[in-house]
């Protein structure tokens, strides 16, 4: 779009500029061009330096501008070379725009390459001197560290010059119109896009990031408008955004401009992913991830230890050495941002604060009123169960309100968590009771959350209850899987190499997380599905729900599973393919597969089924599942034992060799001491 209008020289790479960038760059260009001509606002620049008919920016102001970007000198040289100014000898519009894009890329931490400018970038930042700002922009307020760009403040000044688009002229000339809400959204677009860009790759979902939970912030945007600068500049930008629709405009207006730090805003998809990862580490979303577990997890992201240490410092707000779910999401988000090239902030951005994250947990589809009741001022001292509610809400995409009743009734007795129990018992009425039980958040949203929440709680409680129910009959296979001393991690990796490849190919995790399903969690869900007699809607994740549903109906429409699995997060996705995979290759996923392969279970049920605890009608399958699982575990344990023995042998050999060496050294020492003794009497005399 930026085609070299007016005799553009170089055939630089086709430059796709959004309208915001367009305006920004054209303003900057005009400034540089006009400045040499004796001041801005002088109308169309006839300050053609070289080629008549082509507007160029004078080298002086351009150099000043580049220096103001606060990039190192060599980077600026690189940029100048790349943009082609050196080649053609002057800064034409094309070169200037390319250079600005490269500056933006360099400031975002991306390498200075032509490819860098292909992706969406935030606007370049220039720290001009105060006098310059005043002279040129008349508003030094923009010299804050926020992403409000200089051009925003250029109002009735220059701006056009070489407009390859008359619209801009109209914008600048026309008085303000559109609401202040939209213009501030433009920069958030850019800042947010790179981050969500990475996530679109991650999730490979066709739906673009939607600032769904932030729509409610629209009313908050209005007061934000005047604060970021001259209002006059905004309508032109807005008009530009109206008139143009670029690829950047994937998202609707990101009205979450309450905070200028868009890269630090977590989208719904990201949150879901984080929550899933949290659950893979810690099935109970209301409790903590311990420091060591989190350390191992985050170390896989291959960031340096000091950076990880700093990220931890930022995200562990209460400095307790453990991460709650919002803290974990914040840390994860910071890691992702860092891997995408964003510099780490000095302090935890407001959108990543635990209180904010707790408030933003509920999904938008629940109820728009939810957001009104939520605000960043949500008390930070919310009790963990509030967190639970919100987490549960965030987890579910498809809220089915009528569900909870059944779950609640069936799970009441098995509920161990008091808060959950309380909520579940009152699931039907829910609203008033929940409100009363949660003094910390006496908001209407609670009631709304209560019902879907109880649903989710019922599911987890069922899982836990069933897990507990199964404990007495057989040694819980899942904990053994994860905590067995027989290098359980290796086993998991050994047994599920294919699964990650198949399913997580769609989800290249940015932090390089191993897409290993948590066996306990999966088996929980499996058992859960086995037990629950009613078809449950997906309470946690679509595929979980699918499992249960299919389990219930006993009609495995595996075709259904596949698309859902494709959408599902890695760990759950892996579990599903295991169903169809080789039966005996994946010990943790045995129960899942077995549900759909009754024939296998029959062969495996050796142990007395009576040992299995209070199983419901479909007792055969659960028993068989456990038996098969335990037999597989035996094999796994035996393999592990073998490996340990081998290791022992190696170490024993090493030990003996070292002993040998020690003996030799001893002998040498004795020999030396003898020599010393012989020599000593001579010297003493």
């Amino acid at each position: 779009m930026e085609a070299a209008a007016g005799g553009g020289c170089g055939s630089g790479p086709p430059l796709l500029l959004s309208e915001g960038e367009q305006q920004c760059y054209s303003e900057l260009f005009a400034r540089c061009a006009g400045a040499a001509g004796g001041g801005p606002g002088s109308g169309p620049p006839e300050a053609a330096r070289t080629v008549p008919g082509t507007v160029t920016a004078a080298a002086g102001p351009v150099a000043d501008l580049f220096r103001a970007s606060q990039l190192p000198a060599e980077t600026l040289h690189q940029i100048t070379e790349l943009c082609g100014a050196k080649r053609v000898g002057y800064f034409g519009p094309t070169q200037f725009y390319i250079a600005l894009k490269l500056i933006a890329a360099a400031q975002s931490g991306l390498p200075v390459r032509i490819e860098s400018i292909k992706c969406e970038l935030p606007l370049p930042r220039f720290m001009m001197s105060k006098t310059d700002a005043e002279i040129r922009f008349g508003n030094p307020a923009e010299l804050h560290g926020t992403k409000v760009q200089i051009p925003y403040l250029i109002t009735e000044k220059n701006t056009f010059k070489r407009m390859d688009d008359e619209d801009k002229q109209q914008e600048t000339q026309s008085p303000t119109m559109s609401p202040l809400a939209s213009p501030p959204s433009s920069p958030p677009h850019y800042q947010r896009v790179p981050l969500s860009h990475g996530y679109s790759k991650l999730r490979s979902s066709t739906e673009q990031m939607h600032p769904a939970p932030y729509e409610a912030r629209q009313p908050l945007v209005q007061p934000e408008g005047p604060s970021s600068g001259a209002p006059g500049a905004k309508p032109p930008r807005h008009k530009a955004s109206l008139i143009r629709s670029f690829s950047v405009e994937r998202e609707p207006h990101d009205n979450s401009s309450n905070y200028p730090d868009e890269p630090w805003r977590i989208t719904e998809e990201q949150r879901e992913y984080y929550v899933n990862q949290f659950r893979s580490l810690q099935p109970d979303p209301s409790s903590f991830i311990s420091g060591s577990v989190a350390k191992n997890f985050f170390t896989k992201s291959k960031l340096s230890i000091p950076e990880l240490s700093y990220i931890w410092e930022l995200s562990d707000a209460d400095c307790d050495g453990a991460l709650t779910l919002p803290e974990f999401c914040a840390a994860f988000h910071l890691i992702v941002a860092r891997k995408n090239g964003y510099p780490l902030p000095e302090g935890l951005p407001p959108t990543l604060q635990p209180e904010y994250l707790q408030a933003a947990f509920p999904k938008p589809k629940r109820e728009c009123t939810l957001f009104d009741s939520y605000s960043e001022s949500m008390p930070a001292n919310q009790q963990p169960r509030d967190l639970n509610r919100m987490e549960k809400l965030s987890i579910k995409d498809t809220a089915d309100f009528p569900v909870p009743t059944q779950d609640v009734t069936s799970d009441d007795k098995q509920e161990q968590n008091k808060t959950r129990l309380a909520l579940k018992s009152t699931a039907d009425e829910a609203l008033p009771k929940d409100m009363s039980e949660d003094p910390a958040t006496s908001k209407d949203s609670n009631s709304l959350k209560a019902r879907p929440r109880s649903r989710s709680y019922s599911s987890t409680s069922i899982e836990e209850a069933m897990k507990r129910g199964e404990d007495p009959p057989t040694p819980p296979p899942r904990p053994q899987k994860t905590h067995s001393r027989a290098s359980s991690l290796d086993l998991n990796k050994v047994f599920q190499p294919s699964v990650p490849a198949t399913k997580s190919g769609l989800l290249p995790p940015p932090p390089a997380l191993p897409p290993r399903p948590c066996p306990s969690q999966i088996s929980h869900h499996n058992v859960n599905s086995e037990r629950s007699a009613h078809p449950k809607p997906p309470t946690q994740l679509p595929n979980y729900g699918d499992f249960r549903l299919q389990k219930q109906s006993e009609q495995v429409s595996e075709a259904e599973i596949h698309p859902q699995l494709n959408r599902a997060p890695s760990q759950v996705a892996e579990s599903s393919p295991t169903k169809k995979d080789i039966p005996h290759s994946q010990p943790p996923s045995k129960p899942i597969r077995r549900k759909f392969r009754p024939e296998n279970s029959a062969t495996e049920s050796q142990e007395p089924p009576s040992t299995v605890g209070p199983v419901s009608a479909a007792s055969g399958k659960p028993h068989a599942a456990v038996q098969k699982q335990s037999s597989k575990q035996k094999k796994a344990i035996q393999t592990a034992i073998r490996k340990n023995k081998e290791a022992n042998a190696v170490l024993a050999r090493l030990n003996s060799e070292l002993q040998q060496q020690l003996k030799e050294v001893h002998q040498e020492r004795i020999a030396l001491e003898n020599q010393l003794e012989q020599l000593r009497p001579v010297t003493v005399l």
Binding site: S292, I305, P306, L308, S309, W312, E313, D316, C319, E346
Partner: protein, 147 residues
């Protein structure tokens, strides 16, 4: 008012040392190093008593010493030992105001709390130098609070 803050590990190597007049950093390093002997002496003196009974705050380690370069400054060294034998040594410039004992204690308490926070970070290996920015900012606030 603290002109130098040092965190010494159990094995008597510094985990963190920072001083305000940076040009004389070596001198402060030396002062802290010599105070370590006094610290060891104090904690061994109470060796018979159980660790719990030993107070963490050690108090003034050295009689005040005239600072050659700045004659007006009276430098006092205070020590504090944690239960894990991690020592905090603080050199205080008492020329402006005579810092009361309580203030020194509170400063040490803050140091100890920040150190605990650093420890809570799973990415911090005990024995590493402390690079935590939160810790840095806390020490900075202590150092320039009165200056």
């Amino acid at each position: 008012m603290a002109v130098c803050v040092a965190v010494i590990a159990k094995e008597n190597y510094p985990l963190y040392i920072r001083s305000i007049p940076t040009e004389n950093e070596l001198k402060f390093h030396y002062m802290v190093h010599t105070s370590l002997d006094v610290v060891d002496e104090k904690i061994s003196a109470m060796g018979k008593a159980l660790v719990d009974q030993r107070e963490l705050y050690l108090g003034l380690l050295y009689p005040t010493e005239d600072y050659k370069v700045y004659p007006s400054h009276q430098l006092c060294r205070y020590g504090y030992v944690t239960n894990s034998k991690v020592k905090f040594v603080m050199v205080v410039d008492s020329s402006n105001t005579a810092l009361r004992d309580n203030e020194i204690r509170s400063m040490f308490r803050k140091l100890h709390n920040s150190y605990t926070d650093v420890m809570c970070n799973p990415f911090y290996n005990p024995g590493d130098r402390i690079h935590s920015r939160a810790f840095d900012s806390m020490v900075t606030s202590m150092m320039i609070q009165v200056c």
